[in-house]
Amino acid sequence: MNLGTSAIIGGMLFVLAIFVGLFAPWLAHTDPVMGANLVNAEEPPSWIWWFGTDAQGRDIYSRVVHGARISLTVGIVSQLVNSVIGVTLGLTAGYWGGWWDDVVNGLTNVMLAIPSLIFALAIMAVLGPGLTSLLIALGLTNWSFTCRIARASTLSLKSQGYVQAARVLGYGDLRIMITQLLPNMIGPIIVIGTLGMGGAVLAEASLSFLGLGIRPPYPSWGSMLSEARDQITTAPWLSVFPGLAIFLTVLGLNLLGDGLRDVLDPQSRSRRT
């Protein structure tokens, strides 16, 4: 794929998901939780029930639409928390060096050594299920790559003339970090963040599937998959549509991340011209 094709496709999928999440109440046909009506139980997809209905007669389409809100909130917010933690630690560690650098490096290595889903599981087990604990669990467990990138970029940028010049002109450490270092490393940070967002959507689905994330009856794509597990042969639409939603959102974020990497990386930019 050339220039931004993958970025454009990925961006469109992501924007579509956000649009669905934002306008869920208007797009949904029925209330995702209260819209149960046993008369309509387990209807296959049709013109009336686009994605079919579940055993309680709830409209799957409406639940998938509302699920976008939870999945995207978790994906975006938790990845933002990760990025802020990773950039803050990596930037300060690279800039100041010394014992602080050793501490941050040690912490990063520990985080990289623990599978992040297992770590998130442990945090969820302590905090209990729910949206807030999901955000905390996923926001604290996935910053190590961002931190590594931020630290490495800082180390190479630190010796640049303009960073030295800023010091000579009387900039304080914080001002140097915010005006000189951060804007020059933001490209890779955004790429990692976008890819991480896809990871967070998947992690939310996994945790909810395991019953530790969003609890039924609230619709999250992961919890819907979990509920649909028993009926996968008798009512496949129960798992196909939430699964498809996860697949398309994560695919979109990954394509967007890859595309942004090509657009933001100066080396690949000069290769094209």
Binding site: G161, A165, V168, G170, Y171
Partner: protein, 326 residues
């Protein structure tokens, strides 16, 4: 009050300590610059000019450190100031421009914003006011169409334009001292002349003192009233710039003067080679004993190899450190 110079360096020693070895990279350096005065430091690469400048603004970093001596700005010792007080001096009272205008500007920030930042940082202006002042600052350094140029990124400007922007940043807060470290080395000759002229005029208008650092004696003598010649970490001669050219007292100074091409001289007409100084500047770790210039000096005798020459005062406030000075 009139007696206190703007900046006074007294017997400065800068140590280089990399754990294994401990050597003095700069030693016994003294000079003073009065308000509005222009002073030049000349010498070959590696003679300690740039680290002397860094010491002046309190930015020596490991493995370099000030070993002895004092640097006083308006009578106050720079080493005695807190980090915040030093920051308030840098860029505000003492500014600096660099050799490489290509790399000294932040590539992802419009130049106007980089100028405006100085007003926000040191003068406490709002961004709105600062942006307005940035346009004026660009106009002052004769950048055409400044209200459009402020939005440009450094890569959209030529080398000369970038150096003008650097000067605008350095002079933004009306500093008392401008340190120019090889300000034109990366530029071609015609641009060089323009930039030097601009810098000199702006500083003269504002009464800003200049400390100019360069390997180019001709350039320094052109800009500065007094010149200090550095060799291997020591000042070997300090004179008015006319005297240096007419009658350099130290053999090294004479060598520098002789190695300049001059219009109308035999060398420029191609009948004889330019004279050069034989040999290279010794490495910091093995400075020769006695006079450090002795291995390259035609007039060296036994005393030059054993004894460090004392300061000899010449007329008009000049000085030389040589056993056999002219």
């Amino acid at each position: 009050m009139t007696a206190a110079p703007l900046i006074e360096v007294e017997d400065l020693r800068i140590d280089l300590d990399d754990g294994a070895k401990h050597v003095a990279a700069v030693e016994g350096v003294s000079f003073r610059i009065d308000r509005g005065e222009t002073f030049g430091l000349v010498g070959e690469s590696g003679c300690g000019k740039s680290i002397t400048a860094l010491a002046l603004i309190g930015l020596l970093r490991r493995p370099l450190s000030i070993g002895a001596g004092a640097i006083r700005f308006e009578g106050r010792e720079i080493q005695g100031l807190s980090a915040a007080e030093q920051r308030a001096l840098r860029g505000n009272r003492i500014a600096m421009i660099f050799q490489e205008p290509m790399t000294a500007l932040n590539p992802v920030s419009p130049v106007g914003r980089q100028i405006a930042e100085m007003f926000v940082l040191h003068k406490g202006k709002s961004w709105r006011e600062a942006n307005q002042l940035a346009v004026e600052a660009l106009a002052n350094v004769r950048v055409p169409a400044p209200e459009r140029r402020v939005k440009d990124y450094p890569h959209q400007l030529s080398g000369g334009m970038r150096q003008r922007v650097m000067i605008a940043i350095a002079l933004a807060c009306d500093p008392d001292l401008l340190i120019a470290d090889e300000p034109t080395t990366a530029l071609d000759v015609t641009v060089q002349a323009e930039i030097i002229e601009l810098m000199r005029n702006l500083c003269a208008e504002r009464g800003t003192a200049i400390l100019m650092i360069s390997h180019d004696l001709g350039l320094v003598a052109n800009v500065c009233r007094r010149v200090g010649v550095m060799y291997a970490g020591r000042i070997v001669e300090e004179r008015g710039s006319d005297d240096i050219f007419r009658a350099g007292a130290h053999p090294y100074t004479q060598g520098l003067v002789d190695s300049l091409p001059r219009l109308g001289s035999r060398a420029a007409l191609g009948r004889s080679r330019l004279r050069e100084i034989a040999g290279v500047v010794p490495a910091i770790s093995d400075f020769p004993s006695g006079c450090r210039f002795n291995p390259r000096c035609a007039q060296a005798t036994e005393i030059c190899r054993t004894t460090v020459p004392e300061t000899t005062w010449l007329g008009a406030g000049g000085l030389v450190r040589c056993h056999h000075h002219a």
